[in-house]
């Protein structure tokens, strides 16, 4: 292959493209566009579905970094000193503290007449929060689907996760026995560490974060009383970082400062339940599998388009060779045409992806039952997929042109087989 071959190939390709049918060109570019979107979007949605879980965990529960009690303790020792230290760090944008314990909530204790009757009760994690700080941190009040959010001075009010109430649960949840006939305003009995108190359900929290949907929330002051706690040591401190701060680096900073001796320090990705990352990997593989099929279809499309183009122009290809145009230059002209289709298709695809789809899905996440799915399309991975598409297309364009160009020159000119 020489520079002249490339120059003549490019010249021929440009002339052919310039005078090709606009409809045909448009259709091929459209196929390339769909292939590009298929390559990026299918995987992006599947991965985004899991990424949505991660994002929900981060925004609604863990923040960027979360401190939780050591395995040997029920609380973070010296919590006031820890929070005081955190408040001195410029990377910290906001924190929220939570008490946490196990409890039981019972609904039919007033109407149950027979002691053999099964109590309408369920166990749940009870989280004690500062309603104002928690709402500022996680926006918990926005997840109230019935009733009202807690006020700072509420005494006998709780919020209940929707999975704990039959009326609001999404199907049957394994291991859960949701309470029946309970809604905001219903009086229930809450038992924590042997202490019982009658409380009213003030609101129902609906969240796609399973932990929140199966928890009970009450003001931290009341939970401390029920737990018989007199210190200020909490079970969790969730930390929201200033945008741009690396959570991993911040975690290292905390560990270096000795907080690791008082609490388990995790980034939000560390705290995602086991298996979620595996699902993400599996979904990515599935997405790649579907995309590969799309890629093969695109390759076959381009192969057929170029093959038909070359076979119908076989006589002209013969003439070109006859007048001394090298076979390589002719092949290059088809490679450039394929390249044109792939590059234009990908360019339009990029514009559609980053100009329309990603912002649109970010603004209106896909409502999966367990996640608000987003479209994950990182630029480096998208670039790899473009390269893959272009390479496949170029090969798919080169092969048929080579098949036709290699035929006997005179046979091509005369249309002989």
């Amino acid at each position: 292959m020489s520079l002249v071959d490339i120059r003549v190939g490019l010249y021929l390709a440009m002339r052919q493209l310039r005078r090709a049918s606009l409809w045909t060109t448009g259709l091929i570019v459209f196929v390339m566009l769909l292939t590009f979107l298929n390559l990026v979007v299918v995987t992006g949605i599947l991965v985004g579905l899991i990424e949505g879980i991660n994002e929900s965990y981060r925004t609604q529960y863990t923040g960027d970094v979360i401190l939780s009690s050591l395995a040997t303790k029920n609380y973070i020792e010296d919590t006031p000193r820890v929070t005081a230290f955190l408040s001195t760090l410029p990377q910290v944008a906001r924190v929220t503290e939570r008490y946490q314990t196990g409890g039981t909530i019972e609904a039919n204790y007033l109407t149950r007449t027979d002691s053999t009757e099964k109590p309408d009760a369920t166990g749940a994690q009870v989280i004690g929060i500062d309603p104002v700080a928690e709402d500022a941190f996680t926006g918990l009040s926005q997840h109230i689907i019935d009733g009202q959010y807690l006020a700072a001075d509420d005494y006998d009010q709780i919020l209940v996760g929707n999975y704990l109430l039959a009326k609001y649960a999404f199907g049957d949840q394994p291991g859960l026995t949701p309470l029946t006939n309970v809604e905001p305003g219903t009086k229930v009995r809450l038992t924590i560490q042997g202490t019982t108190r009658e409380v009213f359900v003030k609101g129902v929290v609906k969240s796609k974060v399973g932990l929140l949907a199966t928890s009970i929330f009450m003001p931290a002051t009341e939970l401390r009383t029920l737990m018989g706690r007199t210190d200020q040591n909490v079970a969790q401190i969730a930390i929201r970082l200033v945008p741009g701060t690396d959570p991993v680096a911040f975690k290292q900073l905390l560990l270096a400062s000795g907080i690791g001796e008082k609490a388990i320090v995790r980034t939000f990705t560390d705290s995602i339940p086991n298996g979620v990352e595996d699902i993400k990997t599996t979904f990515a593989m599935l997405g790649n599998g579907f995309s590969s099929i799309g890629l093969v279809v695109a390759a076959i499309t381009i192969f057929i388009v170029i093959f038909i183009n070359a076979i119908t122009r076989r006589k002209f290809i013969g003439i070109l060779k006859g007048i001394g145009i090298s076979g390589t230059a002719i092949e290059i002209s088809y490679v450039f045409q394929s390249l044109f289709y792939a590059v234009i298709g990908s360019a339009i695809g990029l514009a559609v992806l980053y100009g329309v789809l990603v912002p649109a899905v970010a603004a209106n996440p896909i409502d999966f039952p367990f996640s608000d799915g987003i479209l994950v399309a990182p630029v480096p991975e998208t670039a790899v997929r473009i390269i893959l598409l272009v390479l496949t297309t170029v090969i798919a364009g080169y092969l048929p042109s080579r098949m036709i160009v290699r035929r006997n020159t005179l046979d091509s000119i005369l249309g002989r087989n």
């Binding site: 002339r15 052919q16 005078r19 070109l320 006859g322 007048i323 145009i325 076979g327 005179l410």
Partner: protein, 236 residues
């Protein structure tokens, strides 16, 4: 000079073999204008394709200026055709997506000539055949005669050693045919070697030598006499 020795071309169709050229011996000297004639199926086009290196002989030798052309690789033949030969095809064989100027300039690009120089040479060649005003026209916007003149321009733009023409007037009306033949005659006068296949006697008379083929063999090889030559005027 093209020298052909004992040239044989056989076509195979399954078990059947058809010998189209049966041991041709033929020489074309520089500057000659040779018309190859014969009835349909006589082998005249096949001989032209052999001489112009568009086809492979089954056996025999083709020597061009002493070089053994029959032993050349496909790429060597391509380069040889590009540099030394020009072709005029019966059906013009212009690329439909290229303008007249681009069609003529294309082989020059392939020779590595710069775009400006190629277009200048192409324009000169087109002006020479009277198409200086149709440079930007696509083949579909030209008449048959004009297309054939573009084809001739493409064939001569790089000043080839030999110009091959395969039935160049077959698809043209008398007026256009006469224009083409007059142009060939002018080219010949300026020293251009031309080898032309035709089945039309009146146009063969424009040549200085007429080679007649029948059944794959040369049956006559004669100079065009003054008397014969004069007859062409009555036709054109």
């Amino acid at each position: 000079m093209i020298d052909v020795k004992n040239l044989v071309r056989t076509f195979k169709d399954g078990p059947r073999e058809t010998r189209v050229l049966k041991g041709i011996n033929f020489t074309a000297k520089d500057g000659e204008f040779i018309a190859i004639m014969g009835r349909s199926g006589a082998g005249k086009s096949t001989l032209l394709y052999q001489l112009s290196l568009l086809d492979e002989p089954t056996s025999g030798e083709i020597l061009i200026d002493g070089k053994e052309a029959h032993r050349m690789t496909e790429r060597e033949k391509m380069l040889f055709r590009l540099a030394e030969f020009g072709y005029v095809f019966q059906d013009y064989a212009l690329l439909p997506e290229l303008t007249a100027l681009e069609n003529v300039a294309l082989p020059l690009y392939m020779q590595g000539v710069s775009r400006v120089e190629a277009e200048t040479k192409a324009q000169t060649a087109l002006e020479r055949v009277g198409l200086g005003t149709r440079l930007g026209n696509l083949p579909s916007q030209l008449s048959g005669g004009e297309q054939q003149r573009v084809s001739i321009s493409r064939a001569i733009a790089h000043t080839p050693d030999v110009l091959f023409a395969d039935e160049p007037t077959a698809n043209l009306d008398r007026e256009s045919s006469a224009l083409v033949m007059d142009f060939f005659a002018d080219l010949h006068k300026s020293g251009q070697t031309i080898i032309m296949v035709t089945h039309e006697e009146e146009y063969a008379l424009f040549a200085e030598r007429v080679v007649k083929l029948d059944d794959g063999q040369i049956v006559s090889d004669q100079k065009v006499t003054e008397t014969s030559f004069a007859q062409r005027g009555t036709h054109s």
